[in-house]
Symmetry: C2
Amino acid sequence: MKLSEEQLQQFDELGYVMLPDLFDPAEIAAVTADLPRIYAMDRPEVWRESTGVVRTAFAAHHYSEPFALIGKHPRLVEPVKQLLGGDVYIHQYKINAKAAFDGDVWQWHQDYGTWARDDAMPEPRAMNIALFLDDVTEFNGPLWIMPGSHKQGVFEAGHDLATTSYPLWTLDKQTIAELANTHGIFSAKGRAGSVLMFHSNIVHASSPNIGPWGRTIVYLSLCHVDNHIRQFKREEWIAHRDFTPVQSAPDDCLKSYAAGQVAAE
Amino acid sequence: MKLSEEQLQQFDELGYVMLPDLFDPAEIAAVTADLPRIYAMDRPEVWRESTGVVRTAFAAHHYSEPFALIGKHPRLVEPVKQLLGGDVYIHQYKINAKAAFDGDVWQWHQDYGTWARDDAMPEPRAMNIALFLDDVTEFNGPLWIMPGSHKQGVFEAGHDLATTSYPLWTLDKQTIAELANTHGIFSAKGRAGSVLMFHSNIVHASSPNIGPWGRTIVYLSLCHVDNHIRQFKREEWIAHRDFTPVQSAPDDCLKSYAAGQVAAE
């Protein structure tokens, strides 16, 4: 449940760590089984692309039992507590669907840029841990990150309200070109069950998904409890206002949940 | 200048052949040096994305000396003559720019589907040979093709006038999903100077380019002279009406051209 010295060093230098196959297929199946129910929901947390397919289901830990377990799973929460140095709360919880054919672009941005500007989060003592619910390949819009770009603080950004259905503070082309030519781009691919941890200041983006394979990733944005947001401009289900420390569930919580589902059938 | 038995067999089975590094950097530089002049042209052949950047420069062999040499280069023309079994003419000549940040999607389609429907080309005795003018990577919208999909003839298609600035006969999602699950997808990547040959019935697409690196590919669509188009609905500079057989230039034509350019400076 803890990162190794080598992983800590990589995170510091490059701003990300991949943890391949951290969850097994049975655990992933227990979670994805609830997706059709969630995607069919007509509620504001379930945000749609301009074509109508789901782009993001926010705060699914509030209305889904397996996704609630993901939100306190020790394999996700403990490494973040280790990196941030203490208790954390859930600042944001997203299921990003990136549907086959229709999943739209996520423009180049930094997450902390948005959290600072929109939510008045004091420092970048918060970060994402992303769990792949599908195999992520070059063909379904993987996350592209610029290794090392987290070392340069928050870049200037513009509030892009036009490109997609979701408003985002995005970086300009010249900055992206300079960063890419300096740092290159890492494409975060891996089997379902793999996990990517990345620094909240790392610059990243992802292409539209024009292929026939969906690409669902759960993003758990955890923030040190002392570093909670100060401004409540966005919906509560986008930027949470409950700063209660996450208590990790048992490591086998998804297995137990799945066994309970089978028993109930 | 001729494909090997192994390459012919691969083309038959998979519908494509990659020829890595077929042109050297000096030859590519001689050609790309003329791109800024072409992209700045205000003429109908230079088709723009909705953002204004160039999407495709059609028929550049008519207004660019180095691109005219590409249009009759023996390393491109002779393998196609070999595959199509005789003399060929240029049915279409495209420089597809796929500009950094703004290069838009090419939806899933078959080229012969368009040539048959729009131009009344009798048979798929025509094909593309694509020359990479930039390094093509996973980060700048490479061509994705479905190996073996050329064996199933022309699929039903709809005329998509909305997605991009360029009308295209595109396949439906169910067909694409079935083909991808059967055949998989091949991403045609390679250094500048590499060449991809592909069957006119192969199903292919390419993602938008959200990255900071441009991706220019020249597509030479060559048709057997006996198989020339019968219907002249599209502009002459999109679907040519001059069925004169291409006469291959000398193999060193780009080197000679470059030497002449240097001498003239």
